[in-house]
């Protein structure tokens, strides 16, 4: 198995960049921090006293404190067994708000 033609995942055309099926503790902590940052932005706009439709909709979102762990780290997916997949499978998930999932799933 030595030499230039040794078998490796790259040579065999295998999957090299593996996405773990669940988030690590650190990535979960980072996710919570991001959720809190978004909460802080919504709270700052609310504290300004401005009234607008976007604010009403933003206040409907559950805060990081109110969210169950299931919603923080996974999202609804119709294709997965159990109807859930890791939130890190969603493209751009660190810059999107994916807080609300279908009721009952």
């Amino acid at each position: 198995m030595l030499g230039p033609f040794r078998a490796s995942h790259v040579n065999l055309g295998g999957l090299v960049w593996k996405t773990p099926w669940k988030l690590s503790c650190t990535r979960k902590a980072n996710q919570r921090a991001r959720l809190k940052n978004v909460d802080a932005v919504i709270d700052a706009v609310r504290a300004s006293g401005v009234k607008c439709g976007a604010l009403d909709r933003a206040l409907q979102l559950p805060t990081e404190q109110e969210m169950p762990a299931k919603d923080k780290y996974t999202v609804f997916s119709p294709h997965m067994p159990g109807y859930r997949k890791g939130i890190h499978k969603v493209p751009k998930w660190t810059r999107l708000t994916l807080r609300v999932n279908p009721k009952g799933f």
């Binding site: 991001r34 978004v38 802080a40 401005v50 660190t94």
Partner: protein
């Protein structure tokens, strides 16, 4: 002190989030990360902030603390020149 302005800092870029989000940042006057702009409290600004809420850091500030671009630059710069804080003398001479 009654706050009248939003202090908005772009913390995360809108790369590949689509033109609507990119253009929203542009209309807020944000062109690069860590840039800070100030806007009056108004519903249209609030709506824009909430549209890109994942990318920003927002604070409410009173009018006295609103800084222009030049003032922000001045704040970052150190004082010019130098100050003599002491003199080294040889006392025995």
């Amino acid at each position: 002190m009654l706050s009248t302005h939003f202090k908005i800092t772009l913390r995360r870029s809108a790369i590949s989030l689509g033109d609507r989000k990119k253009d929203t940042l542009k209309s807020l006057g944000l062109h690069r990360r860590m840039q800070t702009v100030y806007h009056c409290h108004s519903p249209d600004i609030a709506g824009k902030i909430l549209f890109v809420k994942e990318l920003l850091e927002v604070e409410n500030v009173p009018e006295e603390l609103v800084r222009t671009k030049q003032q922000q630059r001045q704040d970052r710069m150190g004082a010019r020149g130098y100050q003599v804080v002491g003199e080294k003398r040889i006392a025995e001479w």
